[in-house]
């Protein structure tokens, strides 16, 4: 299931926020692109998190976060325009009120391999369907994805990596991939087969939080 965490509401939902950053940190460690000694969120929280983005979270049946992605409008500061400008064709900023940037895709890759694959499929599928639905609701035409190598491999191996917008950028031993998706049925089709019947409308974060709190007290 999917829930939305508006950046400005992070203080109201500290457990979800911590869990999301922990997931990010875990994925980062698994890819060895951060020092193994990195123990806190400072290692994975960047400037763009301070801009109150919209986080889309995929949850398992117990309400645990199994995937997350971050959305920012391209009219403001974005990773692509302000951190990786060198990758842009002709170095022109990509700015449109109808194009948002999706970045920091993270999915839970713990557990045994078979269960892990199912979890990744579900998280990727649900996140993709949710992005498409959110984008349609906001009247968007396209989404830009800025992915690190690990996230890009997850997507490309499942046939949903979007269309390349620029050549990959080499950065500190890793690569950054930039792709775009056209919002609409074609994007939905890429992800719905992974999400299956779990692709549903976002549920209220406060409801999930109270359910989890109640379960924790029992």
């Amino acid at each position: 299931m999917i829930t939305l965490l508006p950046g400005e509401s992070r203080a109201r939902f500290p457990r979800f926020t911590d869990e999301m950053y922990e997931l990010r940190l875990g994925a980062s460690r698994a890819r060895l692109d951060r020092p193994l000694g990195a123990i806190n969120r400072l290692a994975v929280v960047d400037y763009f998190d301070s801009l109150d983005p919209l986080y889309v979270l995929a949850l398992d049946d117990a309400g645990r976060i199994i995937g997350a992605i971050r959305l920012l409008p391209t009219t403001g500061a974005t990773m692509l325009n302000d951190a990786f400008a060198a990758t842009l064709p002709e170095r022109g900023r990509i700015e449109s009120p109808l194009i948002w940037e999706a970045s920091r895709l993270t999915v839970d890759a713990t557990g045994n391999s078979q269960a892990q694959e199912r979890t990744i499929d579900r998280a990727v599928g649900e996140l993709g369907c949710a992005l498409n639905e959110i984008a349609q609701g906001a009247g968007l035409t396209h989404l830009i994805g800025v992915f690190d190598g690990g996230a890009y491999n997850l997507l490309s191996s499942r046939g949903c990596a979007g269309e390349a917008l620029a050549p990959p950028l080499s950065l500190a031993g890793g690569q950054i991939f930039v792709a775009f998706y056209e919002v609409g049925p074609a994007m939905d089709a890429q992800f719905i087969r992974l999400a299956g019947e779990n692709a549903r409308r976002p549920i209220n974060l406060a409801d999930v939080d109270s359910t989890r709190s109640a379960a924790g007290k029992r």
Partner: protein, 262 residues
Amino acid sequence: MYCEDVFDLIDRIARAGRRPAPNNVMDEFLQATGFAHVAYVAFNLPTGPDRRLLSAAFAPTWRKHHAQSGRVDLAPLFSAGLGGIAPLLWDGLERDHPIVRKLLGEALELDLGANGVSIPLRGRDGEYALFSVCVENPGFPGMSRNAVTRRLMVASAIFHSKIRRACSLPEAPGDRLTDRERACLRLRALRKTDDEIGLALGASSRAARFWLETARARLNAVTVDAAVEKAVATESIRLGAEAACLPPQSLSVAPSIGWRER
């Protein structure tokens, strides 16, 4: 923020200089779109060291009302709209909340209507803005809700860019069309389809639509057709001899920003 800082901030806002230009922009926009009530507020506009706190342009009725009331009951819209990035449809507001109920009740009393959309805006210089439109009948003939939202997203961005221009912000190098965008606009001007444009550029039709959209946004045009017309008019693209071979109606008359028959 400490209380002293808040009062100091309020005092500085009260003493801040007023600029008439944004109000003219608002009048032009209302006249062009046919909307009766539009509100716009921006924070952190990079307007220079002498006036950096706040720029606001509310419809006169709202301005008067809020000035007389001397309060900030717009908080639900501000917190949800300015903090977030997604368009906020007022029918999604928690209408049982006392402040929301009061605000919407007053909007009805003032004949503004209790339905509307607020569009949060983020700017490249770190500015935040909120553009709100009262829409008594939230639907335009033959347009879906998503299509209306899309047009409001475009209109609000154009409005914001006019405000930036009114603040005399210089054009940045990134404001100019890229070669790819120019090529897409030129081919569209020659009435090529998205497939044909993509093929000509060695890309897909999806890529053609993507670059047409970025070109439209860069030119602050309402539609891609309007962007083509603007690019031709400003000689950003040249059609040359190929245009002479086209039938007379080749360049569609770009729709103005106007949304309804006047």
